[in-house]
């Protein structure tokens, strides 16, 4: 099948920042993304788990964004502005997508 080059951006960010991140993405014209729940993890600020938690603090989400390579920089800049002072990680991988008209 015909595949098209694209970038897969994975942003793991605090749950309280989810809305701010997606707003920033929307403003940068990035309207395609998928949010996965995260149940736990570990990093420089220690280990955590969502089990039994009530509050929104102390949890993270993973935002996955498939995007045309040309638009990567705009995405990263807007995402970075949100992530900058916060804990979380951003990674970008090469990928190929079906139905390029969607990205």
């Amino acid at each position: 099948m015909k595949m098209h080059e694209a970038k897969r951006v994975e942003i793991i960010i605090e749950a309280v920042m989810e809305g701010r991140l997606t707003n920033a993405l929307n403003e940068a014209g990035v309207t395609g993304y998928t949010i996965l729940p995260v149940s736990g993890g570990s990093g420089r600020s220690g280990q955590w788990s969502r089990e039994g938690q009530v509050g929104r603090a102390g949890g993270m989400v993973a935002v996955i964004c498939l995007i045309h390579p040309d638009r990567l920089d705009a995405l990263l800049e807007s995402a970075f502005a949100v992530v900058e002072r916060h804990i979380g990680v951003v990674s970008v991988s090469d990928t190929y997508v079906l139905r390029a008209e969607r990205f």
């Binding site: 309280v16 920042m17 600020s45 089990e51 509050g55 603090a57 102390g58």
Partner: protein, 328 residues
């Protein structure tokens, strides 16, 4: 009532299923059992508790009427919530070496309130047949947010780098889920009154204490896990803070409650609000506004030290103190 009385009351308090459920959770977490509540179940229980306590408060107001004291009590609550963080901040800087930004964040937690501590105290009062102003639940809701203002001011003023707090963050804080649910249920309870309460009494009144047990079991698990994974986060000074600060908060609230002329039960509840520390609304706000603050410190103090202290010894103590002063 002397030391004997305190111990007797604390003892009686300790053997309630509610407290023991919390201790069970704490112990299970400390011995690293895999007992755990799914996040959705914990949230479901807390939605139930907020709805029920709000509704019952409102129905109580409908039944007993409301007076000028309500406004004064709300006002006093807001002032306490704004004021306590300054005391907490000073005490932390004196007792510990935590950075300014962390001290400010912790201070915000202690100005705000813990609704489940409030619920446990209400439950104890009800069990002993001590009436209290039903609108205290509205006071609780009013005390959730103002402390955040003080914390951010402290952080900005004292060298921290609080994020520009936009209208967006204020909106989030003021209409955060637990405030809306508490006040909304309060309004519904008030509006529908006795008739409304009768319709749903077997859901929000009868099983209430049992649900509270399960929720406290979960809180014990979370607190115990927090304590375990943040060994080393707490200095001795911090632990002292976690026990002395609630006493200070309770004392100030006692003064406020007496000045207002609240009933004996009302004074106790205000003390509990002053003494307790937030573990839901403030942590989320702090993550957004003070991302550099260490969340483990605030949460371990609030949930691992102050919450168990209030639940076991604090509440009976405040009851005795208020009793001694008001002559009850």
């Amino acid at each position: 009532m002397g030391m004997d009385g305190i111990l007797a009351l604390a003892g009686a308090n300790l053997v309630s299923p509610i407290i023991l459920s919390f201790l069970l959770g704490l112990v299970a977490a400390l011995v690293r059992s895999d007992l755990s509540f799914p996040e959705a179940v914990a949230k479901g229980l807390s939605l139930y508790l907020l709805f029920a306590i709000g509704f019952k408060g409102g129905a109580g107001v409908a039944a007993h009427g409301v007076d000028a004291l309500l406004v004064a009590a709300l006002f006093a609550g807001v002032i306490l919530s704004i004021l306590l963080p300054f005391i907490a901040f000073a005490m932390l800087r004196f007792l510990t070496r935590v950075p300014v930004i962390d001290a400010a964040a912790v201070a915000g937690h202690y100005g705000s309130i813990s609704i489940v501590t409030f619920v446990a105290a209400s439950s104890l009062l009800a069990g002993r047949g001590i009436p209290a102003e039903s609108y205290m639940i509205a006071v609780a809701a009013a005390m959730e947010a103002p402390a955040i203002l003080s914390a951010l001011w402290l952080a900005a003023r004292r060298g921290g780098t609080a994020e520009r707090v936009g209208a967006e963050l204020w909106r989030e804080i003021l209409i955060n889920g637990s405030i809306i649910l508490l006040l909304g249920a309060f309004a519904i309870g008030w509006f529908t009154g006795e008739a409304g309460l009768a319709e749903i009494r077997s859901f929000i009144v009868d099983p209430f204490k049992g649900v509270l047990c399960l929720f406290l079991l979960d809180m014990g698990l979370v607190a115990g896990r927090g304590l375990r994974s943040s060994r080393g986060v707490l200095s001795l000074g911090a632990v002292i803070f976690g026990i002395v600060m609630p006493l200070v908060g309770a004392t100030l609230s006692l003064a406020a409650g007496l000045a207002l002329g609240l009933s004996f039960g009302g004074v106790v509840l205000l003390m509990v609000l002053g003494a307790s520390a937030s573990y839901i609304a403030v942590p989320a706000a702090m993550r957004v506004a003070l991302p550099e603050a260490n969340p483990a410190l605030s949460l371990t103090l609030a949930l691992g030290v102050t919450f168990p202290f209030n639940l076991t010894l604090g509440i009976p103590l405040y009851l005795l103190l208020a009793g001694a002063v008001t002559g009850n």
